[in-house]
């Protein structure tokens, strides 16, 4: 079945390709009803990690609509006219927690555009990067959920696990946020099997099971932010039993060779997204145990071309459309970030919820504002 993922510049991206399409601006159906008012949360308030403004249209407790304005963190990045490796320096800084996903999607678009055959071992290295990034991000999302519930002990334990993952990334890739790891022509990596993953698995397993058993915690998540939408992506889709995952589709990374299994749940709420993220951590650890990191390089080509590179980032589909001219410089670039789609899903899922549900639901989508307000020049 053909599935639309989202808007990628002037194109609409589908799971099997992209076509040029018109911009369809979805307007909020909100009309002010008697007694409703606009409760402004953000752009700089406690509980928010990044600058974002949430206009909560409410009657008091009951939420009628949420309008998210992510453009308090807007950036214009000059990339056009730059060489590929120079451009990468900017791409990897768009959203540091998702650096691997961004740089790999960008490089995959370049490589596809230029018709480069990427060595198999390098693709496995890239899978290792993305899956480590996923583990770290999912741990952080779960930590944010426990923070919203005021659960200090699991919160600190999860942060410690995040730190452990950061140290592993730093050890094998030379930078805790994958800066300078991927480049056009190869990868900087410490060769060998990734160690200490079983400690993370053991500790997380204990934490995850304790949280599932905590009635106080799961009460805040169950029934909160239900969204079952065909336009969903990432954990939000999979929590609604929709088997949407770029890793399961032909995107150029050999996930199937690692025995990848899709993780789903059927509640479509914040609890479902929490479960899916937890299960994905185990699945990622399982895949990582089968990867042997190798430092590989390939020969660059100077050619003209255009293509889309797509990966399954921790929060869903992330894609770049890139055009390269015959001088090896970027002439056009578009980004489809998962957060731009997840914001829409979050807003829809908040309707008819109450105030106290908001932080749990917001965190469950794993939205990063930094990757939304980006303009390329």
């Amino acid at each position: 079945m053909r599935r639309k993922i989202g808007k990628l510049g002037k194109f609409c991206l589908y799971n099997d390709g992209y076509v040029e399409c018109e911009e369809k601006i979805e307007k909020s159906a909100y009309t002010p009803a008697y007694g409703s008012f606009d409760f402004v949360y953000g752009p700089s308030a406690g509980g928010l990690m990044e600058s974002v403004r949430l206009d909560i249209i409410t009657f008091g407790e009951y939420i009628r609509d949420v309008i998210v304005n992510p453009y308090y963190k807007s950036r214009t990045i000059k990339i056009k006219g730059k060489e590929i490796n120079d451009a990468l320096l900017y791409i990897e800084r768009i959203n540091a927690p998702f650096t691997a996903s961004h740089t790999i999607a960008f490089l995959m678009a370049i490589e596809k555009a230029l018709g480069i055959e990427v060595p198999y071992e390098l693709l496995l290295d890239r899978i290792a990067e993305i899956e480590l990034e996923r583990i770290r991000n999912n741990l952080l999302v779960i930590e944010r959920l426990t923070e919203a519930a005021g659960f200090q002990v699991p919160m600190s334990s999860l942060l410690w696990l995040v730190e452990k993952v950061n140290r592993i990334i730093g050890k094998y890739f030379g930078h805790r946020y994958f800066f300078g790891v991927n480049y056009y022509g190869g990868i900087n990596v410490e060769e060998g099997k990734i160690k200490d993953l079983e400690i993370i698995e053991k500790e997380f397993n204990e934490l995850f099971n304790s949280l599932i058993e905590s009635r106080i915690f799961i009460d805040r998540l169950q029934g909160n932010g239900i969204i079952k939408n065909e336009d969903s992506i990432g954990p939000a889709a999979r929590a609604a039993n929709l088997e949407y995952d770029a890793r399961n589709e032909e995107i150029g990374l050999p996930y199937k060779d690692l025995g990848f299994k899709i993780s789903t749940y059927d509640s479509a709420d914040a609890f479902g997204r929490f479960i899916v993220r937890g299960k994905e951590i185990f699945e990622s650890l399982n895949m990582l145990s089968r990867i042997n990191l190798k430092k590989i390089e390939y020969t660059n080509r100077l050619a003209e071309g255009k293509a889309v590179g797509r990966v399954e980032s921790p929060s869903g589909d992330l894609a770049y459309y890139v055009e390269v001219n015959n001088k090896g410089k970027i002439s056009e670039i578009y980004l489809l970030s998962p957060s731009s789609i997840n914001i829409r899903l979050f807003s829809k899922s908040m309707v008819k919820n109450i105030f106290t549900d908001l932080p749990f639901n917001w965190e469950s989508f794993g939205i990063w504002i930094s990757e939304i307000g980006v303009k390329f020049e």
Partner: protein, 576 residues
């Protein structure tokens, strides 16, 4: 002689107000002063006199409703005065109708829609019909049109239902709130509808109760009144809390207060001796507290622009704010205001009754007391909402007005009445020398033995002294003003009054029958109005069936009815 002078003044003011309403209201004010003087020996006259005095003063600055409001307003007051001074059934009924009809006319003249005026009149006449039938029965057993002792409790029970209709007690709540809210009665009329017209109901019940010999029936009837009162307190307060209408909230609050008063009457009927006396005192103090504070609050409602609490506009005034807060705290049952004394007294009466009964029946006053306490809590919430959105949050254009001075004056009277409330509790005052309290400055609840006590004057003095000491030690408070931080954004819309009560709407959605409509508007059904509406529709349906089946214009049917009637009459004649 004084009565005749007051009646003369009232009649003259009616006539003069046709030509000059300010002089008319001024004459009403003079008459009210005389009524207050007369009321030094009769609390109902005192309460009514104070309300009418302030209403007349407020009306001078308020009335721009054309030439009919003032004469009709004064006529209605004349009717109430006749009720209060009447010593026979005929005068009482005449006063009752003189009170009701002009109020109906004012609501009708200022109507927005038709049915509130008709509803008011329909319930008003239901009240009259019940009272009339009770009085006819009283006449048949006493053979006198004068108020004399009644051996049967029946006139009291029937007339009480008549008076309850006028008080807007469950199940007749629409009598109270509908004309005030939906008819948008002028604020001065709302004040007397809510403060003194309901007071006439209280007066009527106590008057007839005082004539009726106590029996097991009156005692059992007291328990019924306890139940009805408790129910009205809770639902009146709950609907006041969720009401968005400036006057509607106050009208529901009146139902809550009248519920408390009825509960007090219930204790008065059930108990004997000292407790009964204490309960009567509490009932009267409650009536005083409610009538005066509610009058002031209705003045505030007349001083605002708009009907919806979320969007009202009011002129900024410190006097209005202080007065309003005093009135709201009194209505919330907080000491040292008179409302606080009344609320304390009522709860004490109920718990003393439970103690005295010392049987399974004790559970009834305990439950009633709990419901009244819950209602008081909700009423506090409702009044905080009212005062916040009418006096505190909104900033108007002008500073001060004569109307706000009147509000402040009423507020101060409420405070002074509270700290001087010992005069209403003769026989229930004591002292506590070990605590430094002089003799007579402690009100003691009593059922034969002392139960509890408060000293409103000491509370007032302590508040004053502690404030002075604090001021003396720490000096003028250092106030640091800073810009409000709104997450780095310009301040936008304020928290609406609707939102303030929406948590209750959501929590008690089953009880309030809260629905979220298709356009996402949150709506709580008014179960009382819906019940009345369903009843009216059922009656209409029944009438239609009756008219089409029984009175169907068929000649053969009528001949059949005549023959049937002839046979029945003949049989009855033979049997008898």
């Amino acid at each position: 002689m004084l009565c005749l002078l007051i009646l003369f003044l009232l009649l003259v003011s009616i006539v003069i107000s046709l030509f000059n309403r300010k002089i008319g209201y001024s004459l009403l004010g003079i008459a009210s002063v005389l009524i207050i003087y007369q009321g030094l020996h009769c609390i109902f006259l005192l309460i009514a006199g104070i309300v009418w005095l302030f209403s007349s003063a407020f009306s001078i600055f308020y009335d721009n409703y054309g030439k009919w409001l003032s004469p009709l307003f004064i006529t209605s007051i004349l009717g109430m005065y006749i009720v209060l001074i009447s010593n026979n059934y005929l005068e009482f009924l005449a006063g009752w109708e003189i009170m009701s009809i002009p109020a109906y006319a004012i609501i009708g003249l200022n109507k927005k829609i038709d049915y509130p005026a008709f509803t008011f009149m329909a319930f008003g006449e239901l009240s009259t019909a019940l009272i009339l039938s009770a009085f006819i029965y009283s006449y048949s057993i006493t053979d006198s049109i004068y108020f004399t002792e009644l051996s049967s409790p029946l006139p009291f029970i029937i007339s009480t239902f008549g008076f309850i209709v006028k008080m807007g007690i469950f199940p007749f709540l629409v009598m109270e709130w509908l004309p005030i809210t939906h008819g948008s009665a002028p604020a001065n009329l709302s004040a007397i509808l809510s403060a003194t017209m309901t007071l006439m109901g209280v007066y009527g019940i106590i008057k007839i109760a005082s004539l009726t010999q106590r029996s097991i029936v009156t005692q059992d009837f007291g328990f019924i009144l306890l139940g009805m009162g408790g129910f009205s307190v809770f639902f009146g307060a709950l609907y006041a809390y969720v009401s968005e209408h400036v006057k509607g909230l106050l009208a529901f609050s009146t139902i809550e207060n009248n519920g408390s008063i009825l509960t007090g009457i219930g204790v008065y009927l059930i108990s004997n001796g000292i407790l009964s006396h204490f309960a009567l005192d509490v009932t009267l103090v409650f009536a005083l507290a409610h009538s005066i504070a509610k009058t002031g609050l209705f003045f505030i409602s007349g001083d605002v622009e708009g009907e919806s609490l979320s969007y009202v506009k009011i002129a900024k005034s410190l006097r209005g704010k202080i007065g309003g807060i005093l009135l709201a705290t009194s209505m919330s049952g907080l000491l040292p205001n008179i409302g606080g004394v009344a609320a304390w007294g009522l709860l004490e009466s109920l718990f003393m009754l439970a103690y005295v009964e010392h049987s399974i029946l004790s559970i009834i006053p305990i439950i009633s007391g709990s419901i009244v306490a819950m209602g008081e809590g909700l009423a506090t919430g409702a009044l905080i909402k009212f005062i916040s959105y009418t006096q505190i949050f909104k900033i108007g254009k002008t500073e001060g007005s004569t109307k706000s001075s009147i509000i402040l004056l009423v507020g101060i009277i409420i405070l002074l009445l509270g700290s001087d409330s010992y005069i209403f509790f003769k026989g229930f005052t004591a002292g506590a020398p070990c605590l430094g309290m002089l003799e007579g400055l402690l009100i003691v609840s009593n059922y034969g033995k002392p139960f509890g006590g408060i000293s409103p004057l000491y509370i007032l003095l302590l508040l004053f002294i502690i404030s002075l000491i604090t001021f003396g030690i720490f000096g003028k408070p250092k106030i640091r003003r800073s810009e409000t931080w709104n997450n780095g954004e310009k301040l936008e819309e304020q928290y609406s009054s609707f939102a303030l009560a929406n948590n209750i709407r959501m929590m008690l959605s089953k009880l309030l029958r809260t629905k979220i409509l298709e356009n996402e508007v949150v709506f709580s059904a008014d179960i009382f109005w819906e019940a009345m509406y369903s009843l009216a529709k059922a009656y209409k349906k029944f009438s239609r069936i009756l008219s089409t089946s029984y009175m169907n214009s068929s000649l053969s049917y009528y001949i059949f009815y005549m023959i049937l009637a002839f046979i029945i009459i003949t049989l009855l004649a033979v049997i008898i």
